[in-house]
Each structure stands twice: as structure tokens, then as C-alpha cells.
């Protein structure tokens, strides 16, 4: 199978190790991976802050860039949610017929990473080895926008050596919310404190998620508070094997 990786702007800039892990993982599973060098951003930050015109130009750019692509894989559930939930409204309001029909054809070929693994490749055992206690943070967009359901848990359950902790209040938001984290910094921090208490209570060594944005927020707080826990994108856990542990991919 061929697939093109949409890495997302912040993963490209801040979390390249997640991208490298996706490459290692998918190539190991026999996917022929491609990377469009002109990609930038899906427009989520602008759309969620109220900059609709700007969000539209980035959305349009995304569709034009990927319209002939067989399959697009995105290691970020909030960016996929942006494409699925917000692009239709933007194109309805600001786009033309060509753009709308290009988008309509492209949309069923855009997948979040866990969707791609489970639904497209039909694999839940990716052959990973990660001998650590891990807690999974179910990000809001994964749960309520993409309805990922048990997909991430099925993937984690098959990772050898992994001890999965149960997170209390798993579906409660961590408080990141994009520009919300600076526009309402104090409220965002209060929400983060509540989430962190639950996460730390599990005694896990790693907190994982399908969104590095939540992890940047939680991980930043863990580092500030000298917490004995690290954050790691799920792709990095799934990419890790006995012969190639997570450190080798970092």
C-alpha cells in the first residue's frame, strides 16, 4: 500500500521524532511512504481562533496539494478533525465547486494514524516492544470528533512488554485547546493540573497520546514539576522493537 505522510506543522517543527517513528513503523509494515515537500499546515490554529479567511486559504492549499494522493496519513487527531469537521463548512462558505468536489473525493482517503493501521492495514499487532508502564491520554478530538473508540487500546494491547495503566476521567479535556492555552492561560493551567493529577496517579513511566499538542502541554507541566513521567507519541511506542528501541528513533 502507498501512503503520503502529512506530518503537520508543529510535528515537523517540534516533534520530528514522531515523524521518524511513523516512517519506521509504516515502512516496517510494508507501506510505501511518500512525503510532499510543499506541505505546511492544515489551518486548524487559524480556524479555531476565528481567522476563517486564513484557515480557508490553508485548507484550500491542503486539498490542492493532496487531491491526487492515494492515501494521506496524519499523526494528529485534531488535524484530521479539522479536515473532517471544519473543511466542509469553510468550502461551503468560501470555496468553489471544483474545490468542493476535489475535497469530497479526497476526504475518505485521509486517515489518522490509528485509523490507518486498524481500518486500512487491518493490523492491531504491529510487532512493537516497549517494556514500560504506560498511560494513554485519549485526546478530545480522538474521542469525540474522530470516534477512535478502542483503536488506540487495541494497538497498545498488542505491544509486547507494555503494562497499560487505567486513566481515571479519561475522556476529560487536558486543557490545551490550541490558542486557548494562552488566551485563557490560567483556566487552561487549572484544567491541566486536574488532568495531571489523574495521569500521575497511575504511576506510569510514560503518558502517550495520538496528539503531540496535548503532550506538549502535559509534558511541559511534568517537566516544570519534576514529575517522574515522560510523554511520548503513540507512533513512537508502536515503532519501538527489541532490536530498535525508542531511543534509537529519538
Amino acid at each position: 500500500m502507498r501512503a503520503s505522510l502529512f506530518i503537520t506543522c508543529y510535528n515537523d517543527t517540534l516533534y520530528p521524532e514522531t515523524g521518524r517513528a511513523v516512517v519506521a513503523l509504516l515502512e516496517r509494515l510494508g507501506v510505501e511512504l511518500d512525503f510532499h515537500p510543499k506541505q505546511t499546515c492544515c489551518g486548524q490554529m487559524h480556524a479555531n481562533t476565528g481567522f476563517r479567511g486564513e484557515a480557508y486559504s490553508q485548507a484550500k492549499r491542503f486539498v490542492q496539494l493532496y487531491r491526487d494522493t492515494e492515501t494521506v496519513v496524519v499523526p494528529s487527531s485534531s488535524c484530521v478533525a479539522m479536515i473532517r469537521d471544519q473543511y466542509p463548512g469553510l468550502f461551503e462558505e468560501l470555496g468553489n465547486e471544483t474545490l468542493r468536489s476535489d475535497f469530497k473525493a479526497l476526504l475518505p482517503r485521509v486517515f489518522e494514524l490509528s485509523e490507518f493501521l486498524i481500518d486500512q492495514l487491518g493490523i492491531d499487532d504491529v510487532g512493537a516492544y516497549f517494556p514500560h508502564r504506560v498511560v494513554y491520554h485519549a485526546s478530545c478530538h480522538g474521542v469525540r470528533a474522530l470516534h477512535l473508540g478502542d483503536r488506540p487500546y487495541r494497538l497498545l494491547a498488542k505491544v509486547r512488554g507494555l503494562d497499560l495503566a487505567t486513566l481515571p476521567n479519561v475522556e476529560r479535556c487536558c486543557g490545551f485547546g490550541g490558542t486557548f492555552s494562552v488566551k485563557n492561560a490560567e483556566v487552561s493551567s487549572a484544567m491541566m493540573a486536574a488532568k495531571l493529577q489523574d495521569v500521575v496517579s497511575t504511576g506510569a513511566e510514560y503518558c502517550t497520546a495520538l496528539d503531540n499538542s496535548c503532550l506538549m502541554h502535559l509534558g511541559g507541566a511534568m517537566h516544570r514539576q519534576y514529575a517522574a513521567m515522560k510523554t511520548i507519541h503513540l507512533a513512537q511506542i508502536l515503532a519501538a522493537t527489541e532490536s530498535c528501541p525508542v531511543e534509537a528513533l529519538a
Binding site: P16, V182, V187, M216, G219
Partner: protein, 486 residues
């Protein structure tokens, strides 16, 4: 109306502080936060159990959503039908275009009754039009009869929730308020003792004040009936003893048929208080000679609602049945409680309703008072896509503000405008990444982390560190790997 004194909670969007500021006042009050989180968690777990036992919950939501949407499509028809039926049954219907008009109508009716005092069934709509302070200023004393509203009225507090308005007050605080205001020095904080004290206080009001004001949960067009659901029986008392009843209702509260209550009532109690059915559901149609109030008025309030009706995305706000499930599910509300929203309508529904009631002249920070987590939409019994409306309002606020000179150098606006230019071309984005990587080194400590940033970045680093930028972006790594392969 004059501007309220500082330090007092302001539930008037015209004078309330911006949301982040209002929230800060609450975040600094650990007792209040504890009270809110505890109360919310109790309601949420009750709701969760009762929703789970309904196998047709999603079908009910779909039916209710379709029903409410249908009402909004045909609002004029159903309101006129309601008016005709209510009038035929002996009621009198009044139309109020805005809050000022509604207040004047109600004052006129009370004067007609010669009322110096009035008892009230809990109505958030009266808070929307600032009715109590207005009546008090015109020499009419108002007495709330809902237990939570009594606590707030006697304690000089403001409601922080639309179903459980005194949710932020705990038992010890209730005892203190009652002891002080009712002159009951030795009152214990035992719930039974507290309700007994409230009952004694209330009985005297019920028996001596012949005029009442209510809100409405629903208006039934088919029969001209008004429906109020409640838990304490105070509503039933207000519908039995007084000689005159004035009902204030938003124009969106109408339902086509009596049978529609079947769907709505199943959803309302479960969503609101986590009960299968609320203890008291009262319906009254006009007047019944010799039974209950003999003069009955309905004041139908627009106050910005028909403007909302004209807008395709925002219109769904009016589907709301005020169950408060959204605020109970909201992780922001759980931290801030209701006062931060500066309106009688807090939480996610307040964040979309209040700015629209203000025609976006006030409360512009409310659409941003959400992390867009979607929990509100998931629980809404009438499927209001609150995140979608929040985004629509954010876009309107941005369009309002973006041309203001003061916003030109606002870091958020500047940053997003620049980011848009960068994202338009890959080379620009890549150049910015390289420059950013160099610039950020100034702030990166030896441990590879950023502990403090200037300006807007400082909002991030006040509670969080940020990992320093990696030496190589992903696309650089990919390009290098590609080259090697060739």
C-alpha cells in the same frame, strides 16, 4: 442602571469583566472551586447512570433535536397558535421586544395588581432581563421560593448554574446565611434542619403574598398551556395560592403539541439533575374559575432571539431547553464555576447564548472560553453543536476586532497574520523554522528546555516548560534520507 460595585460578582454582560479575568477571581477561591467540582461530579455520575439505562437515548436526542429545529422553522405559527389558545383559556399574552420592554410590562401588571411584594418560581429569564433589581428599585419586593434561589437572595450571592443556582455554596455556608438572615442562631447544618428553616420562611410568604412570577420550561401551542418542572413543590405552591400569575418566557420555549412533552420531559430530567423524572411537573392553561390564580399573564420575550433565528449556524442555540448538561460536562466550567461567565447563562450554552443576546456588543471573550473539547455537544439532549457555534462567533469577533488599530500590534493578531503568510509557501515556513530555531536558543537552557519566554509566550511558561527546538525538522530529515538513498 448603575454600574455595580467592584468585587461583587457581576452577572450583567454589559459590565462583567472579560472571561479570563472573571475566571481568575474564581481560580483564586479554592473553597468555591471545591464546591463546584464536587457538585458537578455528583450530578454527572447520576446522569451517566440514568442515560446508560435508556437504550433509546440517541433516538430520543435525534427526535428532540428534530422537534426543536421544526419549532424554530415555524416559530411564528406556533407562537400565534399559543397566543390564541392561551387567550381563549382566559390568559393574556404580552409581547416584549427586549429586556426593557419586558420589565416595563411586568411592572405595569404588578402595579395593576397593587402588588408591593411578589413571590417567584425560579426563572433564569428574569435574571436575563435583570428583573429583581428593577422591581426592587420601583418599590416591589421580590421573594424567591426555590431553595437555591433563597440561599442566593438571602446571602446576597449570584447564581452560578441554571439548574442548581447555588451549586457553589456548601452546606456550612447555607447554615451561616440562614442563621444570619433568619435570626436562627442555633441552626445546625443538618440538611433536614436547613430545609425546615426554609420551609418556615417560605410558608409565610406563600400564605401572605398573592402575586407570583414564573418562568416556563415549555409553552404548548396546541393547548395554550405553560409547563414548569421543579423539584421542591414551590412552583406548585405559587400556582395554587396566589391570585395572579405572571409568566415570563423566551419566545423559543414553545412546543407544537402536548404529546411533544413526552420526548422533552424524558430528556430534561435525566440531563438536568440525573433523575428519571423531576418531582413536580406543573401545567396550567389560562385560568380555572375557583382554582389557582384568577388572573394570568404570559410575557413573551424576544430580546435578541429573532436575530439569532435569522442566522443558519447560530439558530440552533435556540433549541436549548436549559437542562445545563453542557455546563455539567464542561471541563472549563468545572474549574471556573458560573460567575466567571458574567451572565445568568454560564457554561458552554452561556458562551454562545450570552454574546448573541448582546448582539456581540458585549461578552466577546465568551466564545473563547472553551477548549473546544466537544463534551457539551456530546451530552446535549437536543444536539446543539456548541463547538460549531463557538467557532462561528469567534470568527465574527475576529472580524470585528481585526480592523481595530489597537489590535494591529496585538501579539495574537500579529502572530496569526504572519503565520498565515508563512503557511502559504513552504519555503517561507521552512525559513521561519530555521530562524525560529536560532532565535529560541536565547531562551533555551542547558537542559534543553525553555523555562521562561517573553510576551505572549510567557502565558505558556507561567505553568509549563517547553522543550527546546530540535536541531533538524522532520522535512529536513526526510530530504537528507532521500538524498542518501539516491
Amino acid at each position: 442602571m448603575t454600574q455595580p460595585a467592584p468585587n461583587h460578582v457581576v452577572l450583567d454582560p454589559r459590565f462583567a469583566p472579560p472571561f479570563p479575568e472573571g475566571a481568575l477571581n474564581v481560580l483564586r477561591n479554592p473553597q468555591l472551586r471545591k464546591n463546584v467540582a464536587h457538585a458537578i461530579d455528583v450530578i454527572q455520575s447520576k446522569r451517566g447512570k440514568l442515560v446508560a439505562e435508556k437504550t433509546d437515548w440517541q433516538e430520543l436526542r435525534t427526535a428532540a433535536s428534530a422537534l426543536r429545529a421544526h419549532v424554530l422553522e415555524n416559530l411564528d405559527t406556533y407562537l400565534e397558535e399559543f397566543e390564541a389558545r392561551c387567550t381563549a383559556a382566559g390568559g393574556q399574552v404580552h409581547w416584549a421586544a427586549d429586556a426593557r420592554q419586558a420589565r416595563q410590562i411586568i411592572l405595569g401588571l404588578l402595579r395593576q395588581e397593587g402588588a408591593r411584594e411578589v413571590i417567584k418560581i425560579k426563572t433564569m429569564t428574569s435574571g436575563e432581563i435583570q428583573l429583581n433589581p428593577f422591581l426592587e428599585a420601583h418599590g416591589i419586593k421580590t421573594y424567591e421560593t426555590d431553595l437555591a434561589e433563597i440561599i442566593l437572595q438571602l446571602g446576597d450571592e449570584e447564581p452560578s448554574h441554571i439548574v442548581v443556582p447555588a451549586l457553589h455554596v456548601n452546606r456550612a455556608q447555607v447554615r451561616e446565611i440562614f442563621a444570619r438572615r433568619m435570626g436562627l442562631e442555633h441552626l445546625s447544618d443538618d440538611p433536614q434542619a436547613l430545609t425546615a428553616a426554609a420551609r418556615t420562611y417560605l410558608r409565610q410568604k406563600f400564605l401572605t403574598i398573592p402575586t407570583a412570577i414564573s418562568g416556563a420550561n415549555f409553552l404548548v401551542a396546541e393547548t395554550g398551556a405553560v409547563a414548569v418542572v421543579e423539584s421542591e413543590g414551590n412552583g406548585r405552591m405559587c400556582l395554587t395560592l396566589p391570585r395572579a400569575m405572571i409568566t415570563l418566557a423566551g419566545i423559543e420555549k414553545v412546543l407544537p403539541r402536548f404529546d411533544d412533552l413526552e420526548v422533552m420531559l424524558q430528556l430534561l430530567a435525566r440531563s438536568a439533575t440525573g433523575e428519571r423524572m423531576n418531582p413536580y411537573t406543573s401545567l396550567w392553561t389560562g385560568i380555572t374559575p375557583g382554582d389557582g390564580p384568577q388572573r394570568f399573564h404570559v410575557v413573551l420575550l424576544d430580546n435578541g432571539r429573532s436575530a439569532m433565528l435569522r442566522r443558519p449556524v447560530e439558530r440552533q442555540t435556540l433549541k436549548c431547553i436549559r437542562c445545563a448538561a453542557c455546563m455539567n460536562a464542561c471541563p472549563v466550567y468545572r474549574q471556573t464555576g458560573g460567575h466567571a461567565y458574567g451572565s445568568v447563562y454560564p457554561g458552554p450554552i452561556g458562551a454562545i447564548l450570552t454574546p448573541q443576546l448582546m448582539h456581540l456588543h458585549h461578552a466577546q471573550t465568551l466564545p473563547y472560553a472553551s477548549s473546544l473539547c466537544g463534551a457539551c455537544y456530546e451530552v446535549c439532549p437536543v444536539k446543539i453543536n456548541i463547538p460549531q457555534v463557538l467557532l462561528e462567533l469567534r470568527s465574527q469577533v475576529t472580524n470585528q476586532e481585526r480592523h481595530q488599530v489597537a489590535r494591529f500590534l496585538d501579539p495574537m493578531y500579529l502572530g496569526l497574520r504572519v503565520a498565515n503568510l508563512l503557511f502559504a509557501r513552504a519555503w517561507r515556513f521552512h525559513l521561519a523554522q530555521r530562524l525560529g530555531r536560532i532565535g529560541i536558543r536565547l531562551f533555551t537552557r542547558k537542559d534543553g528546555w525553555i523555562h521562561s519566554l517573553p510576551g505572549i509566550g510567557g502565558k505558556w511558561t507561567q505553568t509549563r516548560d517547553l522543550r527546546g527546538f530540535p536541531r533538524q525538522t522532520f522535512h529536513e530529515w526526510w530530504a537528507a534520507r532521500d538524498k542518501e538513498a539516491k
